[in-house]
């Protein structure tokens, strides 16, 4: 065993941490070695000095303070758990409502979607802003594929291509007869029309009319 280990073991011996056999060996070494003896004595004196430090009685209210604080924090934790659970349930319910709403909207006919306007006859018209958007921007696909079962919509020659695309779109979306009925209710002075609302006011003539002689 090296010198350093021997020295370090002096502390353990002093603290009763060595087994009996090792303690006896070291004690024999201490008696034979003045340097070890001096070191052991120094360690002993320090331990003795620290042992003489008087301890104080901790204030009794620490116990009450600790238990009170634990109770208070438990209450906070419980409240936090409730709030978290409530927020989670609320959030989940909102998500369910949103998902349900989107699913419902996806299954409704196009004419029933918000943004369309229900007229007195029970038919629907697109709101002006939607019509304008469709006319002015990308809402109308460049290659319209409307028609199909309803047949092609006959349009006057003076209708420009973009308007014609939109009219075909409206025709598909609202159904021919429904559009005519509503157009007549709106503008009884006009013989037949497919209404495409361009302005903000539906009833002040801010509309584009397209005669459909063939179907009528």
């Amino acid at each position: 065993m090296g010198r350093r280990e021997e020295l370090v073991e002096l502390a353990a011996m002093l603290d009763g941490e060595l087994d009996d056999g090792r303690a006896e060996q070291l004690y024999a070494r201490i008696k034979a070695d003045p340097e070890l003896m001096a070191e052991f004595e120094a360690q002993r004196q320090v331990k003795l000095a620290l042992g003489r430090l008087s301890e104080v009685e901790a204030p009794g209210y620490i116990h009450a303070r600790v238990m009170g604080e634990i109770g208070a924090r438990r209450g906070q934790v419980a409240a936090w758990r409730w709030r978290t659970a409530a927020a989670f349930v609320g959030g989940f319910a909102i998500c369910l409502l949103l998902v349900g709403g989107f699913l419902y909207m996806g299954q409704r006919p196009a004419a029933n979607r918000p943004g369309n306007l229900l007229l007195g006859s029970g038919e629907y018209y697109s709101q002006p802003s939607l019509g304008r958007e469709a006319l002015g921007r990308e809402a109308v696909p460049p290659e319209p594929v409307y028609g199909g079962e309803l047949g092609e919509l006959a349009l006057p020659e003076d209708v420009d291509e973009r308007t014609a695309d939109f009219l075909r779109f409206a025709y598909r979306a609202h159904g021919y007869q429904g559009m005519l009925n509503s157009a007549e209710a709106l503008r009884p002075d006009l013989p037949a029309a497919i209404l495409v609302l361009e302005g903000h006011e539906m009833t002040n003539g801010n509309i584009i009319l397209a005669r459909d002689e063939g179907e009528r």
């Binding site: 502390a11 941490e17 360690q43 000095a49 008087s54 104080v56 901790a58 620490i62 924090r73």
Partner: protein, 198 residues
């Protein structure tokens, strides 16, 4: 150690383990018993480290509260005492690092302790002077050296308990205690401490 004493200690340990189990399950009364058992020792440990009673109260309280809410993490209930000291030690060292106690003029304190000793004939004053001198010497040590000596020589923790509290090997505890005492010896005036009686 006699067999009866071993048996009695085992019974105490068992009951402490049972208390720790109950407290970990949320039994505040069981934890209250543990708090009663240890708050005084923890307080004195922290007080020796920070040398400020109010602060020692706060750190002791915080350590015991923190321990309660961390009890489920304690894997070996038999190590409750070491674990509690570890929490208190960490809290104390954290506090010392973060807040920085008002700097104590250690040399001044050492000088005062000499003056006190010479100027007062009363025993209580002698005790105060001796305590002040030892504390002033302890303050010269690094916090971890101070902590290990306070745990060992003031609180009487075993090397194994200190090893668990500080999460260091047994052999390291042994060498740290040796070197900490050796260093402390350099700052102590044994004539003040023992007055020629050692």
């Amino acid at each position: 150690m006699t067999r009866e004493r071993q048996g009695a200690e085992a019974a105490i340990d068992l009951s402490e383990e049972a208390l720790v189990h109950q407290a970990a399950a949320g039994d505040e009364q069981a934890y209250g018993v543990l708090v009663k058992r240890y708050y005084n020792r923890l307080f004195n440990f922290v007080r020796s480290m920070v040398r400020n009673e109010e602060l020692a109260e706060d750190i002791t309280q915080e350590s015991l509260v923190k321990a309660y809410f961390s009890l489920k993490k304690l894997q070996n209930p038999g190590s409750f005492k070491s674990w509690l000291f570890r929490i208190a030690n960490n809290n104390t060292l954290d506090w010392l690092r973060r807040k920085r106690l008002p700097q104590i003029d250690v040399d001044e304190q050492l000088r005062e302790s000499y003056v006190d000793k010479r100027s007062s004939p009363e025993d209580s004053v002698m005790d105060d002077a001796r305590n002040a001198h030892i504390h002033a010497a302890l303050d010269q040590l690094k916090p971890d050296q101070k902590a290990i000596l306070v745990m060992c020589d003031l609180q009487g923790l075993s090397y194994q308990e200190i090893a668990e509290a500080l999460k260091i090997p047994f052999g390291t505890v042994q060498s740290r205690i040796f070197y900490a005492r050796r260093k402390l010896k350099d700052y102590l005036d044994t004539s003040i401490i023992f007055g020629g009686e050692s």
